[in-house]
């Protein structure tokens, strides 16, 4: 889409007073993939016993000083490069002051004034195939807070600091998003990109990625309205629901003569609604100031070059290459590049298939792509396995596809052998050998089978020869059955025609 095209039919909320446009900006918090925390040597692994992965730095004991984890810096820079952003070789940390039991320091170390990554952008693809570019204002590094558990005791909250001090990237979009679908597509594209880069595992269930959703509404052509911020929404579906609900709520308020208060709201996944966090009138008064414990964060161009060199081919480039060089449809290119692991697997299988057949990759790409996205994905779904756990490896699949391409196996036989491979873990060649599944294209054997079928059905032969052409399919079926499905279909067709007509 062109932005122009999208502008012709924007998503709107139908109100009593007319159509309202919605304006959305997202702040995505992505936990940085690293062994240790941003400023301490405690582990970041998910699911440990409470407070088992807490250093005295994370617990904010007096006299402890933070020391930055270089890997978190590297991952933030790599992420910035992946969104074509400006990388700031000089950045600085600030203290964001607020009080909550899961924040032992009484402040979060963040980067308000001088973030590590500046302006960039991300292209999103909507369901109808149109694309749109969403601006990204900045990415900064900050500490995560601990976790409060409220439902274990009637009058107490329990606090676990294991997550306290883990590195987060806060990725702040421009208010370029105009519909719930665009919000969903943006988060999905960002998650995919982070997983390709390897800077965040994107695991929304474990809280590795969550979003603060800023929403406002306006009549077409009007300036931005007052926005609200719905905190910590943790799935693509919930983010879309939060956008939609909040926009409708604002339209209702405005149309009944009210005004929108700039406030922080909470999303309730059970009802799909948002509600105000009451009593937080001071919540935005964070009194930021430069953290006196931390010197500026500085690196050179060579470090940025190393980060750039370590990036894999990114999803957009990969999709484009699959279409341009491999001749795949946008749909297949999208499906095969959805996850980096899938794309890697496909590319290994493609290279192996081409090598076995002595052909170029573009000549066999469709064969491999169709089998991977169809038969293999279907089987994995049935087995409840990831591509990394596939019982059939890429080289084994290539062997099967090569046997199909060179005429050894017919389509139905390939499926049969594939099932046997899934079951036994054996190679295609071995299964074909053991079970005698080789496709028969020897005309002598096929002629013999045809003759038996014709002899057994003299009445049908007479009808066919009398002009009932439709019976041809019946004969093909009988011959294939007589040969247990192993006859080469092309040869059967040719010989049957010759013998019936002759």
């Amino acid at each position: 889409m062109s932005d122009a095209e999208s502008a012709t039919k924007p998503f709107t909320i139908k109100g009593a007073t007319g159509d309202w446009e919605i304006v959305v900006g997202l702040e995505v918090h992505a936990q940085v993939t690293a062994q240790a925390k941003l400023f301490s040597g405690a582990s970041t692994e998910f699911g440990a016993e409470p407070n088992a992965q807490v250093s005295l730095v994370d617990a904010a004991m007096p006299g402890m000083l933070p020391v930055i984890n270089g890997e978190c810096v590297r991952q933030a820079v790599r992420t910035g490069l992946a969104i074509n952003a400006q990388i700031n070789k000089w950045s600085r940390f600030d203290r964001k002051n607020y009080f909550y039991p899961d924040l032992p320091q009484g402040y979060q170390i963040s980067q308000l004034y001088h973030p590590i990554v500046g302006e960039g952008s991300l292209e999103i693809t909507l369901d109808d195939g149109t694309t749109k570019t969403i601006g990204i204002e900045r990415i900064h590094l900050e500490q995560d807070a601990g976790k409060s558990v409220h439902d274990l005791h009637p009058s107490m909250s329990y606090v676990d600091l294991n997550r306290s001090g883990c590195a987060l990237m806060e990725i702040v979009s421009r208010p370029d998003i105009r519909s719930p679908a665009e919000a969903g597509a943006y988060v999905a594209a960002l998650r995919q990109l982070l997983r390709y880069v390897g800077s965040c595992d994107g695991n929304m269930d474990e809280g590795s990625m969550r979003a603060d959703v800023n929403v406002s509404v306006r009549k077409a052509g009007q300036p931005f309205g007052t926005r609200t911020e719905t905190k910590n929404v943790n799935s693509v579906r919930f983010i879309m629901a939060a956008v939609e609900h909040e926009a409708k709520r604002q339209v209702d308020v405005l149309e009944s003569g009210g005004s929108i208060v700039q406030e922080t709201r909470l999303f309730d996944p059970n009802s799909g609604t948002t509600r105000s966090m009451r009593g937080k009138e001071d919540a935005h008064d964070y009194r930021y100031f430069p953290d006196p414990d931390l010197l500026p964060l500085v690196f050179d161009e060579a470090f940025i070059d190393q980060c750039r060199a370590s990036l894999p081919e990114l999803p957009a480039a990969k999709r484009a290459r699959y279409q341009a060089d491999l001749g795949l449809s946008p749909y297949l290119a999208g499906v095969l590049t959805a996850e980096k692991e899938t794309a890697d697997w496909f590319e290994t299988a493609l290279a192996a298939t081409a090598a076995k057949l002595g052909k170029g990759q573009a000549e066999v790409s469709l064969r491999v792509a169709n089998f991977v996205s169809g038969d293999l994905f279907g089987a994995l779904k049935r087995l409840g396995k990831d591509i990394g756990e596939s019982p059939v490896g890429p080289d084994a699949l290539a062997e099967l596809l090569a046997l199909g391409a060179d005429g050894t196996l017919s389509g139905p036989l390939m499926k049969q052998v594939f099932e046997a491979m899934l079951e036994t873990g054996e190679r295609a060649g071995a299964i074909v050998e053991q079970r005698g599944l080789k496709q028969v294209s020897d005309t002598g054997a096929i002629d013999a089978a045809i003759q038996t079928v014709l002899d057994a059905n003299p009445d049908k032969v007479a009808e066919y020869r009398g002009g009932k052409d439709k019976l041809f399919g019946f004969f093909v079926g009988q011959v294939m059955r007589a040969m247990a499905g192993k006859a080469a279909p092309g040869v059967v067709n040719d010989r049957l025609k010759a013998l019936l007509d002759g």
Binding site: A52, V67, I68, N69, S157, D282, P296
Partner: protein
């Protein structure tokens, strides 16, 4: 720039410092004294001078990404007024 008694009460609340009504006038006066002194710095011509990020020269040293700490829940919880099942236990903080 100066602060009034309302601002002093607000700052105290944000910093979670208990300030009695009796103390407000004195603190207001003291804070305004400090602000006045700081304002004198505005008289210095700082054109072309980079804002200072730290009194120390240099930049951050980086740590390797390795787990070298943690595994000390007893020490972490040692000063907690109340701890249960490995958690800090605090008065309920949700409505």
């Amino acid at each position: 720039m100066s602060v009034d008694s309302e601002t002093v009460r607000k700052i105290a609340r944000l910093a979670r410092i208990a300030v009695t009504e009796d103390e407000v006038p004195g603190l207001t006066e003291q804070l305004n004294g400090i602000l006045g002194w700081i304002e004198q710095l505005g008289e210095v011509d700082t054109k072309g001078v980079e804002p200072m990020a730290s009194v120390m020269p240099g930049h951050l040293r980086w740590r390797a990404d390795a787990v070298t700490d943690g595994g000390i829940p007893d020490k972490v919880l040692a000063n907690a007024p109340e701890a249960t099942s490995g958690f800090f236990a605090v008065p309920k903080v949700i409505e």
